[in-house]
């Protein structure tokens, strides 16, 4: 009978982790729907970017208030998870505070977890106030209506509840230690929960043990629920920020990819010995589609970007188009890409592993032409992203589809391109007049 809690714990743990792994597999399959891209170059720089930007949070502090609060929650998340290790071992082996033998160091650890937990609570409350009372502009864009806003708050509530449970568990434990209750060996320092413990003084030992056990169980079950909530939430960034910064763009921001499929065509056109009427080889692959109209046309790194986005809106608040009231919001580009990818993923699930055309696509059904044509390609969104997401690359790929597959550029741009084609300048000036300036007064 004594082993029932251990068994129950093991089952919950396995189920929680198992379900999470299933979702991660789905996530990985969806990302792999994207086109391949070579990311094997310059590994040292990639590791450096990951450690600086994701681990070191360097870009978060560009906005100091949100940045510092975020670092607190981030450190809390990472460091308090050391405690989760102990909780899991206690749960599996039926021990209590299995690391207590560490003595003074253990006290130091528990003490710092407690202080971090308190700081996390403060940070989470400030975050909630920023989202719901101060109403910062970047949390109010139309794409945040409905689920995204709820999702943001839900994450804060879960974090708050987990921290409160953690401190309650410690406070009850501390009280039991003070009362010399068996099994509750004196271990740890409780700089925060020692102030909660007196609330329990009047309670019976049995009640305090019940409280301690309830908080302990709810805390670990809460963590497993939170883990599984990630896949359904913008909160995936806590995991994906690391690969995303690793696979982020290394070249100068102004350098856009040269489409290889186009290079082949251009070389052929420029080759005087090429036969323009030659039939393609029988085994020649079908000509590639230019640009992107749906998620499968994007590269897998762009799809990883979409899942990594945590909807902070720094990109949108720096976007010159968005600041001047245009429809474009780089955050919405990322959210749309993610939502469409999820839709495609579900389609594949329900159709036994194969995508069945649903008559929808990213372009038009999610992202409008107007949004795409409002972009100035200024890279402000790319610079602003704290986790190296590149919304601009998606905008450019979709413009390529509009122009090269659909000839659907705004007429002004068609004129500009016509001029370049005819006279080598975006304006209708004769190329032979290019040096006239040197003779004009």
């Amino acid at each position: 009978m004594d082993y029932i809690p251990n068994i129950v714990f093991a089952i919950i743990l396995i189920a929680g982790i198992g379900f999470f792994v299933e979702n991660i597999k789905k996530l990985s399959r969806n990302i792999k729907l994207g086109k391949s891209v070579d990311t094997s170059d310059n590994k040292p720089q990639r590791w450096k970017n990951m450690s600086r930007i994701a681990l070191g949070q360097t870009k978060m502090v560009v906005r100091p208030i949100a940045g510092i609060l975020h670092i607190i929650v981030y450190l809390g998340f990472i460091i308090i998870n050391i405690e989760v290790l102990e909780i899991i071992m206690d749960g599996l082996f039926g021990t209590h505070r299995i690391f207590a033998f560490l003595g003074g160091f253990y006290s130091f650890l528990i003490g710092s977890f407690e202080i971090l937990a308190l700081l996390v609570i403060i940070a989470v409350v400030v975050f909630w106030i920023r989202r719901n009372l101060i109403k910062l502009g970047r949390f109010l864009n139309p794409e945040m209506d409905g689920w995204p806003k709820k999702d943001g708050n839900l994450i804060l509530y879960i974090e708050l509840v987990l921290m409160v449970l953690f401190l309650t568990m410690n406070a009850a434990d501390y009280q039991l230690q003070q009362m010399d209750v068996a099994h509750y060996t004196k271990a740890g320092a409780f700089p925060v929960s020692m102030f909660i413990a007196p609330l329990f003084e009047e309670m019976s030992i049995a009640s305090i043990i019940l409280l301690e056990r309830s908080a302990w169980w709810l805390h670990i079950v809460g963590i497993l629920i939170f883990l599984n909530y990630l896949y359904y939430s913008k909160h995936l960034h806590i995991l994906l920020a690391f690969p995303n910064t690793y696979f982020g763009k290394l070249r100068p921001k102004g350098q856009f990819d040269n489409l290889e499929a186009v290079t082949k065509e251009v070389r052929l056109m420029m080759d005087p010995s090429a036969d323009p009427f030659a039939a393609p080889d029988g085994d020649a692959p079908l000509p590639e589609k230019f640009g992107a109209s749906d998620v499968m046309d994007l590269k897998w790194v762009q799809l990883l970007n979409a899942y990594t986005c945590t909807e902070c809106g720094r990109c949108t608040s720096e976007c010159p188009a968005n600041q001047t009231g245009k429809k474009l919001s780089p955050r919405k580009i990322m959210m749309d890409t993610r939502d469409r990818l999820e839709e495609v993923g579900k389609n594949i699930d329900t159709n036994k592993g194969a995508f069945v055309d649903d008559g929808k696509q990213l372009l038009g059904d999610y992202i409008t032409h107007e949004e795409l044509w409002a972009c100035t390609s200024c890279n402000a969104c790319v610079e602003a992203c704290p986790v190296s997401i590149d919304p601009l690359s998606i905008i450019m790929d979709m413009r390529q589809y509009l122009v090269m597959e659909q000839s659907a550029a705004p007429s002004d741009l068609n004129n500009m391109m016509g001029n370049i084609e005819n006279n080598g300048a975006p304006w209708p000036f004769n190329q032979m007049d290019r040096l006239n300036w040197s003779k004009e007064s």
Partner: protein
């Protein structure tokens, strides 16, 4: 546009020079060799000056081109232009999504550049700069490409130009970062170093350097009407500039220059604020 005469008067240039005299001198002094002519004479210049479409055809930008050439002439820089052999780099086509047209332009230009054995290119247009520097190598065009502010800074460091910026003393100058120079290529300091050398007071806008606000022209927006919104981007940026009460808004891009000049006009501030390219500031300081 502010007439040159008004500009010189306002900046505090003393002396009897009027607009006509200045342009007359300009005309006399401008030496613009072409690659074709040098090639025929068996010569190879130190650097190719890529003028760009705006610098060749836009009335405002042509003044920047001339100012830069005057500095090159004064510093005895061995340079040449492609002249009628130059063609659009393809940047606006690429940003508009027409990769095909971009690569056609690029491949054609690369053939010309490689035929002349060009090693180093300088340009006063950040869009040309970015495209030549970053997007041409993949198509066979490998050159050392510098923006004219970087080139000017180097001339200054080598002592080939000297700047006596006395006339800018006490003037507040702010620098508007072109997206394709700043964020796109991380060049922030060369233009600022030059402004500091002018003895002027360099003042920064609310959004500058990495967080500089676009002028609204990039991504081929220059060639189309803006999408529906509640304000034009260039007005927003001009307001940011005017907020810090500059005497001169310095630019390093012909398109930014146009957008900000329009913005200043829109705000009816053209009598107190001028938009000038860094090359123009230096040419003026050198009394060219």
């Amino acid at each position: 546009m502010v007439p040159l005469g008004l500009l010189t008067k306002w900046i505090g240039l003393t002396g009897p020079r009027n607009h006509n005299e200045i342009t007359a001198i300009m005309e006399n002094e401008l030496k613009v060799p072409t690659m074709a002519a040098l090639f025929a004479a068996g010569q190879q210049p130190e650097v190719l000056f890529w003028v760009g479409c705006a610098g060749s055809f836009d009335d405002r930008a042509k003044k920047i081109t001339k100012a830069f050439v005057k500095i090159l002439n004064k510093a005895n820089v061995s340079f040449a232009v492609l002249g009628t052999e130059e063609s659009c780099t393809g940047d606006p086509a690429k940003r508009a999504g027409n990769e095909f047209l971009f690569q056609m332009q690029a491949v054609t230009n690369i053939e010309v550049l490689n035929a002349y054995g060009v090693k180093k290119v300088v340009t006063a247009c950040p869009h040309c700069f970015n495209t030549l520097k970053n997007e041409y190598p993949g198509l066979g065009g490998n050159y050392e490409v510098v923006h004219h502010t970087q080139f000017l800074k180097q001339l200054l460091e080598e002592g080939r130009i000297t700047m006596e910026g006395g006339q800018y003393k006490g003037k507040r100058i702010t620098f508007h970062d072109p997206c394709y120079l700043g964020r796109a290529n991380n060049v922030y300091e060369a233009p600022r170093d030059l402004i500091r050398k002018l003895d002027a007071e360099l003042v920064e806008m609310k959004n500058c350097k990495k967080r500089g606000l676009c002028c609204g022209a990039g991504g081929a927006q220059m060639f189309k009407e803006p999408e529906k919104g509640n304000k034009d981007v260039n007005i927003e940026r001009t307001e940011q500039a005017l907020d810090i009460k500059p005497d001169i808004i310095a630019a390093g891009c012909p398109f930014c220059n146009t957008m900000l000049t329009d913005g200043v006009k829109n705000k009816e501030k053209e009598s107190s604020v001028v938009v000038m390219d860094i090359a123009e500031l230096i040419a003026r300081a050198e009394d060219l």
